[in-house]
Amino acid sequence: MLVFAASDKGGTGRSVTSANLAYQRALAGDDVCYVDFDFGSPTAAAVFDVPGELGIDEGGLHTYLEAGTGEPARVDIWAHTLHPVLRNRPNGSGRLVLLPGDASGGEFATDQDTLRRCVDLLLRLNSEFDVIIVDLSAGRSYAMDMVLEATAQPELRSVEARWLVFHRWTRQHVLAASGLVFGEHGILNGAAAGLHDKDTLRQSIRFVRAAVPDPESALWSQVSPAQSVWMQRCDDYLRQLASDRKIGDSVVLGTVPLEPVLQWREQLITEEDVLSTQIANKETLEALEELARKLTDDAHWGQP
């Protein structure tokens, strides 16, 4: 299954959340591959804590797509991570492999040859992995156009593809996320027009609300009554706005709470972080686990 992680704006936690999803799926026993198509700023290596924080020097995805190498480099995360917890690969877990971007990447225009190579790569990964998470640059990028065109090719039509659109829980982000999908130049009307069946594609898109402060959470239990009422009102307003903009609860796959560990450390959240060092909130880990479960559960996809 291909999973494309998109967002309209930067700073939505797209990369860190989708990396956590990859990790959770691997813990559940799936063979998972994380493809860093965020050409402007390849950061996945940092999230998984493997060497090459800003992308690798040569042979990454960028080089591959531009025909500079026959096969893009791969990093076995369990084997190469510097993260002390991840190094002990749990029994029964699946593979977790990163296809890193190049350090000197940057966006590039897509031609037929690049498209061909993109299709070949996705085909190959699909034959090998249960879940392939493709992290796309923010906004309507070349990377997004390329994968939309690639998934419309006959070879890839029968391969299950799902989209996750990440946004923060603010007015601007809700509007932007809705625009990215439903806007005039959005995924459905612009990028995929003429390539994909609009309804089918729409049914394969779900939204993930990231960094959402939950007014009910213990985190905010100490705030003043006035603040509490205000927070509740804001939350209600955003819910209404999201619903008006066609990204209401029925198309939301999950919500990830505001979590300092995700915001500041931008790394994987492990059970250790919750149970032993207790730096991360239990709710966050549970939200990620639930999101990972729903990602591959057909009941949460299709006609909302």
Binding site: D31, G70, V119, D120, L123, S127, E128, L156
Partner: protein, 321 residues
């Protein structure tokens, strides 16, 4: 074999085979296999039904003019043609391979293409060939820009995998394997020798010592046969590795192993197409590490588990009467 090669003029043969599951929900019949493997319009796909379903593409040639990898850093430019071909076994396992021969000396000057085109599958060094160093270099893999048979095999495999007859719905996930091989001649009176190594996760290397006069096609077939069975074994081992036999989710594990029964277990047939002169090499591998021994143990284990899981079903059926 390592020291013997140096004492006499050597001709090196080498290649790489990449093996993967054909990405289709159903195994292809011979006719469909013929379409997929039709790499050239002017030549037919070789198909055979005995002792198993097997289709072999015609040879295609690729012109090369580049350096050969050498373990001692020697710069050896070579020009000629590399053969690439593909095979499909039981409509299920796809292999793409490339190979070539290198004579121990070649012309000092680069010749016009006509000279090389009449020698298909031969890559000639400019001057003398440091056979041992190049053999080692090939097994280790060269630097970018050096002749890499793996890249040629990969190119062919990628091209085949796009074929419209393939529905891209593999019955299970599996990985590719790469098998790199080199063959050097052994002195008169010596029998053939083999050294098989699992070099990395997906990479195997094979060093062969081959008596003079052995048909090169036979060597290539042997390597394809080795690659096929190594892939089968690797794939079955990985399937069993992930499953939780004997645990509470035993029934689930059995369900997960069903593709092995449906698609893999009947494919084991070592030496089906190996020249008799070289079958001693297979015997050596059967002795150590014991390919078939491991395969049959795994297969037996799967069958036993299937039988065990069926017992409660049987009891249910009997009590329901």
């Amino acid at each position: 074999m390592g020291t013997l090669g140096r004492t006499r003029p050597t001709t090196l043969a080498c290649g790489e085979v990449r093996t993967c599951l054909l990405p289709t929900s159903q195994a292809l019949d011979l006719r469909a296999a013929g379409h997929v493997l039709r790499l050239r319009a002017d030549e037919r796909v070789l198909a055979s039904e005995r002792p198993n379903l097997y289709a072999l593409s015609p040879d295609t040639l690729m012109g090369v003019d580049c350096a050969l990898p050498a373990s001692n850093g020697a710069k050896v430019r070579a020009v000629g043609t590399v053969v690439a071909r593909a095979a499909l076994t039981e409509g299920r396992v796809l292999q793409a391979g490339s190979f070539f021969r290198v004579p121990d000396t070649g012309p000092d000057q680069r010749q016009p293409w006509g000279h090389y085109l009449v020698r298909p599958g031969v890559v000639e060094p400019l001057g003398k060939l440091p056979a041992q160093a190049v053999a080692e270099g090939l097994l280790k893999g060269g630097r970018p820009g050096e002749l890499d048979p793996g890249l040629i095999a990969e190119g062919l495999l990628t091209r085949l995998l796009r074929h419209p007859l393939l529905d891209q719905k593999s019955p299970f996930k599996s990985r590719r394997t790469r098998l790199r091989w080199v063959a050097l001649p052994v002195p008169d009176g010596h029998g053939p020798s083999i050294d098989f190594t699992v070099a990395e996760d997906d990479l195997r290397t094979v060093r062969l010592g081959i008596p003079e006069g052995t048909d090169q096609t036979a060597v290539v077939r042997l390597c394809e046969d080795l690659a096929l069975h190594d892939w089968l074994l690797t794939t079955l081992v990985r399937m069993l590795d992930g499953s939780r036999f004997g645990s509470a989710d035993g029934p689930m594990a059995v369900l997960a192993l069903r593709p092995a029964v449906d698609h893999l277990m009947h494919l084991w047939m070592p030496r089906a197409r190996v020249d008799r002169k070289l079958s001693a090499l297979w015997e050596a591998l059967e002795e150590r590490p014991g390919f078939s021994r491991q395969w049959h143990t795994l297969v037996q284990r799967i069958r036993d588990q299937m039988a065990l899981q069926a017992i409660p079903l049987l009891r249910e059926a009997l009590t329901a009467r």
